[in-house]
Amino acid sequence: MTNGGMTLQQRRIVIGALLCAAAFALVEVRLVDLALLKKGDARTASAAEVVSRADILDRSGALLARDLPVSDLYARPHTFEDKREAAHVLAAATGADERRLLALFDSRHPYVLVARQISAEQEAHVRALGFDGLEFEPSAKRFYPGGRATSQVLGVTDPDNNGLSGLELGLDGKLKGNDQSPPVETSLDMRVQFILADELAKARATFAAKAAGGLVLDVNTGEVLGLISLPDFDPNDRALGPADSQRNIIAQDVYELGSIFKIFAFTLALEDHTTNPDEVFPIGQGFKLGRFTIHEAEHMPATLAAKDVLARSSNIGTAQIALRSGGARQRVFLARLGLLTPLRTELPEQARPLAPSPDHWGMVETATIGFGHGISVSPLAFAAAAATVVNGGRKIVPTFLKQSGDARGEQLIKPETSAAMRALLRYVVTNGTGRSADVPGYDVGGKTGSAEKTRAHGGYEAHKLVTSFCAVFPIAAPRYLVFVMLDEPHGTKETGGFALAAYTAAPAAGRVVARIAPLLGIPQRIEVARENS
């Protein structure tokens, strides 16, 4: 009974051994599968499913936006005995529209959405009602602890957690992910943001302004520490109130900013040595330029030194200085400062500046653009250009992401010109229209701007102003720029009825500087005679 040298018994043993080995191998495979390959199953998927966007933090790690777990409530209407009663009770528990629910329950749909993004408390309430045929789908809702203070800059998401506006949209690629996604650290400082919001709200209320906006910018890194645009909205409530607005006037709108633009006419003149701070200019009662006559907003002496032209904000003096630079040179200079093209930042909201075409940039345009009329830019673009002027002359691009150090770019202006402009801006605050922005000990430099608003069909509204103030401190070695703007402020009894920037925007900017400078660690420079103990 042999076959190839192996007995029947031996063959049975071999077959049995092979079967056992196969069974053993199956067990081993299953073991490996359970112990190693299916390790990931042990992780709950709920967190990954619920949290779909990363946190947004301020520069100190304070929470600005986070996904909170909520539920979407679905129902199988055919399981309800009394659909009217179910619609009534579920509407009361979730805030859903009762008529919509009843229509859905009476329809042929087997599975309907009752309410989206209900809170854990609402879910517990609904569960306690004891209805059969209800299902809760885990979801997430974006929550903004800072509320209105951060609404315009952070923006909002849609119910599916996609960015809709602000940094939520601009940083959508970084924010979309799962619970493992690292938080996004912004350049914002929640303390600065709050102070800016507080002072702008007070100024807006005091002067009954239509809108107000402002920002705080680090002139060496380009980091935006705070950005406020009023009116704003509650980002935690999808519904906009009648006084709310989702328009970010600092980034999204362009304005003729008026005299604040004289900063650039003087920078160019000093850069090209076409004037010096002590040169005297005739002012007179009007400056004729072709068929136009340029006037002053306030009474001026017959002559003014160039530094006083800036300090007292003379349109006639500035027009003469701008004309010395010439239109072509002025246009190139403003273009290099980024004032003739849309400014691109992490914010999706951006504005296209309005300026004459090269063919229409004549003498009149050169003169008026010198003192801030005939050109419209966004306040954010203006602030970036002004930061470039004062930071030693190197290009600054605003950013809403935290930076690690000096981020100044190309040298656009000579450092000596930048230093001379800082001295002039300080002179404006000590001897000119910016006095009310002075803060003892912080050496604030700055410039006022009061521009009449343009009419829709050309011309200007004489009594509708946009007033602004650009403050820089400490002026010797600038760290921060504060820009404040009020849209259609009205004079008060305290201001003698004046609504110019010197009475409205400048004091507000000064108060912002006074409150944020200590928090930002700027040393105060006051020599005080101490009592000898």
């Binding site: 909170l68 602890p145 800072g146 928090l519 040393p523």
Partner: protein, 126 residues
């Protein structure tokens, strides 16, 4: 006889190995269930912590704290120039610490604004 004994031992060893493997497999399955439950608990706790952190940030929001401080404690924001960084505070010693320059602290305090002061105990008692 020897062959039968060897066969029996082989089958016995295989049987015991199968049982041992089954036991390990079962323990792994149970550990997996326990791990899933623990991970779920961790995820729920993390989610709850995240909610609490967000709520805390909302409660500590500066405008809310300012409104409460003004309403309940009669505090005012008029004297923020008193704030200064620690390293800027004046020192009594002649020699500066760490070779840093001694700088003037914040000393120019605005005129008092006469806030409406209420006793804390009264405010809390209301």
């Amino acid at each position: 006889m020897l062959v039968r004994l060897v066969n029996f031992l082989c089958v016995a060893i295989i049987g015991m190995t199968v049982l041992a493997n089954y036991r390990i497999s079962e323990q792994t399955r149970l550990a997996g269930i326990e791990l899933r439950a623990t991970n779920r608990q961790i995820a729920e706790d993390r989610a709850a912590t995240a909610v609490l952190e967000a709520k805390w940030e909302q409660l500590a929001e500066p405008s809310r704290v300012q409104a409460m401080a003004q309403a309940k404690l009669g505090m005012n924001d008029g004297a923020t120039l008193q704030l200064s960084a620690l390293e800027l505070l004046p020192r009594h010693e002649d020699a500066p610490l760490g070779n840093t320059e001694v700088q003037q602290a914040s000393v120019d305090i605005p005129a008092p604004v006469s806030p409406k002061v209420v006793r804390v105990s009264d405010a809390i008692g209301k």
